[in-house]
Symmetry: C2
Subunit: 540 residues, 2 copies
């Protein structure tokens, strides 16, 4: 087996030659001998030192096989990366998204930007309060009038994953409209969603920053026909849009009063906090949307003010970096022990993998170290019966985050006790392992243990604590991006496939306008598959 | 960075010293120079040689950066592992699950076992035809009588993931009962599911091989109270069970005629083909359940009879092994371009990670090579807007399976054309990459390409082709297990956490019966978290 990056030993950006990196490499040489169980024996205060509590949220990282010295060296790496200065630049609205010349200000949406901040000549706070006012009035009128029973959100990526997660995680008042989400261009998605709905009681929200997203426009067009076929002109009343491209939304036929604005400084995967959250305001009430922002703001303040060694997102990021770069871990599991957080892994997966799944640093240099890991997961206890086998006894070490909710939102106490005990027991088993009886006689019952585990406990699953949780991960991912010297805010990796898709459509379907002149023929595999597919399809 | 397995350089099982393994290691030395694009240029027949079509299913692996010579060496490894002999043992009912002394005969459920086969003194074919007759009669009577509008399946792991996938993937006749699935012990799951249902029109199916699964029994108890609180004795009529433990099911209160049998030789994650498929028979009709089995049987026959170098599951397995053991790939993406297959990644994830996420071989020796990878994924096109960034531009190479359906099951042709073009374009982009203009001026727009991609095309998404698809993955995973010398059919890794959970419950709640005398105190982290959690919970 050869090192993965061998062929890329090109000009280094210097990170791996820095004294802070080298200190960690030295730590790594002895790291396989570190047993977490022994660390607890050496220091009875370990739990107290290795957990942080903050406003109904508890973060425990004592179950990672890392010493205080390693943590100190990781903090030194963060300081050498000028993390605090980068953090302050983000909050201040500096254009840290350099490949797109944009500020990164989703934190402003949580009222965490400096007062008086202007971007592109516009007062940010003013923009936000105006948008909030528009969202509040619209969501209240929808609920008051009672005409709309179903809201269908059409969007893909961030505008889909964020609102879906929050909608499922929280409970709305009785009688509020149901919300459905259509994202996939697969026509099954919109067909199945609309099938039981009635056009005169259905509102569509078209959510696309550019108003050019292929899937979203195609689905929006189908939705518009569905409304107007039922009653000509109905789409004018029953469609709203969330977009930074007001012009195209109006040309599409959305009434100006029903267009909710975005701005360039709101990235898709950080857009939940913007008008993209409109479905939450409609279904759960604007106050719950505000509580979500408030929770995120608490974390913004914590991230901005807590010392690095007591800073939850910083520590989450540093642990992840340690395992990724110095312990060869390539994946990270997100394990919410709450059915209502079933979609959390998919949400975090996008924010993380789209932000830091990059091999070119912010100066354009191919990195010579690993960056973003694979993020995957699933809800406990279900995941125990799915992939936990590999977490316990697989050949790779996979760090994991267990997310628990202390108070149930139902009256089935026995269920909840067993849920919590199961979660804790898994964290214990992953750390402690078992090498004594019966493992000594039955090797297949041996657990090596020493798996790195973080535990996050939310007091309860409400909008405020959910906002905290999501902002924690955002900032964790930000910190890792800074340390890996990435621009975490672009996503050029999705661009090539889009261009090629239009070429393929054009070649098979001369009616489709090509995106470039004389696109080159695809490889023979793609060419043959395309011919096969379209033949089967057309003959169907 | 140090090799992950260094500390385990213990007695080797000899695999990595075999001449076949060493030949592949030699291939691996030059492998980073292999460019798939160049392979197509060298051999215009590459697509024809590197794809296999079978009864409405097409498998293309020409987009993997592997040469014909590497494939030959991989086949040699399979022969050295006596793959064909192991395969025949499985189909013949030999007890290849040695840690549990069981045969592995889910293939028999698809009528792929030899005639006259007996296990534990019972004729297997007779057992299956009796069970089918019971399933057919029961499902037909439920549909004919029309009393049941909703079926709630209570089960976790295999009995949940399989039926959920198939239920969502296929369409039932109008008016058939809706099916809901409750798996999580989180009380939210059953509470939310039952909330809109009416007890006198709801049937529960309790699906647990042992009838001892913690989550399933807890949820079954809650369901039983819900029925009997509505009308005493209602649970006797409105509950069925699928289990190998008839005695406990009867003691629980299930009417004997409504107990559907399992056998020891049906593993949970392979149980979809057994009476665990009862909800499919009820919702979609017994004929669709049979078509599912028929599709799987077609693959069983292919797996048993096709030469190894034209054998789809064998080739899928060998490619995965090549990337995992010789190209340091640690994850594998499952990407169905079909909204109705959204749950396929979770289903395959369980079958794969629970089968081969093991570091002890079938002789009890700690392996000195990597086994099962992390399996993750999501439906296209959504996944393009979520984690594809990392597939294209991340630092790790992640092999991926694209699964396409040629014919749409709706009339929105424009949607379907774009869905197919998107999928093909992604496979092309992952393979071809882009290093010319504009990438040469803008490094963040550079794509290294050469990512390994398989494409699977189903003629249409029906029960037959779905059965083919699922059986393909089962056999792929079987082949990898044999080559890695694992017992793919046990799951001891889930055992330790279960024991510890009971200890934790007992310590905090002396009413709970401990599973062992004087369980040792957990580590301070677990102890402190438990105290914190239960205090918050009790004070709520």
């Amino acid at each position: 087996m050869q090192p993965l990056l061998k062929k890329f030993r090109m000009p280094s950006n210097g990170l791996t030659d820095s004294p802070e990196w080298k200190a960690l490499q030295k730590d790594a040489c002895g790291a396989s001998a570190i047993r977490t169980r022994a660390l607890f024996e050496q220091d009875p205060e370990r739990f107290n030192k290795f957990h942080i509590a903050l406003d109904g949220l508890l973060f425990d990282y004592s179950k990672h096989p890392v010493t205080a010295e390693i943590m100190t060296h990781l903090i030194a790496l963060a300081r050498a990366a000028e993390l605090e200065s980068w953090r302050d630049k983000m909050f201040a609205g500096v254009q840290i998204n350099t490949t797109e010349d944009r500020a990164v200000l989703h934190t402003a949406l949580r009222h965490s930007a400096p007062e008086g901040l202007e971007v592109d000549g516009e007062n940010v706070a003013g923009f936000i309060s105006n948008t909030h006012e528009q969202m509040r009035r619209y969501s209240e009128s929808i609920r008051r009038e009672g005409l709309i029973h179903d809201v269908v959100v059409i969007g893909i990526g961030g505008p889909n994953l964020g609102p879906t997660l929050v909608y499922e995680a929280l409970s709305g008042p009785a009688g509020a409209p149901r919300v459905h989400f259509v994202s996939n261009i697969d026509g099954t998605h919109i067909t199945q969603t609309l099938e039981p709905l009635s056009p005169d009681h259905t509102l569509f929200i078209i959510s696309s920053k550019t108003f050019k997203t292929l899937e979203t426009l195609e689905n929006a067009q189908t939705a518009k026909s569905w409304l107007d076929d039922f009653k000509p002109g109905l789409s004018r009343e029953h469609m709203a849009a969330v977009t930074a491209n007001r012009e195209d939304a109006e040309a599409f036929g959305i009434a100006p009063a029903q267009i909710f604005p975005l701005r360039e400084w709101i990235g898709g995967r950080y857009s939940l906090w913007s008008a993209v959250g409109l479905p939450i305001a409609i279904a759960h009430g604007f106050d719950q949307f505000e509580a979500l922002l408030e929770g995120a703001r608490t974390i913004d303040t914590h991230f901005q003010t807590a010392p690095l060694d007591r800073n939850i997102p910083v520590i989450m990021a540093l642990l992840g970096l340690w395992h990724r770069n110095f312990r060869a871990c390539t994946a990270h599991a997100i394990l919410p022990y709450a059915q209502k957080l079933s979609r959390l892994p998919a949400y975090i997966q996008q924010v993380d993998m789209e932000s830091n799944g990059k091999n070119t640093d912010r100066d354009g240099i191919r990195v010579d170290y690993e960056t973003g890991p694979v993020i995957f997961g699933g809800p406990g206890t279900d995941a125990q019966h799915a992939f936990f086998q590999l977490l316990h006894q697989g050949t790779d070490i996979i760090p994991s985050d267990f997310i628990l909710v202390a108070r149930p939102n139902h009256g089935l106490d026995s269920h909840h006790r067993q849920l919590l005990a199961s979660a804790l027991a898994q964290t214990q088993a992953l750390m402690e392992g078992r090498t004594s009886e019966p493992a000594n006689d039955a090797p297949h019952r041996r657990f090596e243990g020493n798996r790195p585990v973080s535990t996050l406990i939310l007091e309860q699953l409400d909008a405020y604590h959910l906002g905290m949780l999501l902002a924690l991960y955002e900032h964790k991912i930000f910190v890792q991006g800074i340390l890996w010297r990435l621009n975490s805010f672009d996503q050029w990796g999705v661009e090539l496939g889009k261009t090629l898709a239009q070429d393929i459509l054009h070649q098979l379907n001369p009616g489709v306008v090509p995106t470039r002149e004389n696109p080159p023929a695809p490889d023979p595999s793609t060419q043959n598959l395309a011919t096969y597919l379209f033949k089967s399809f057309i003959n169907s």
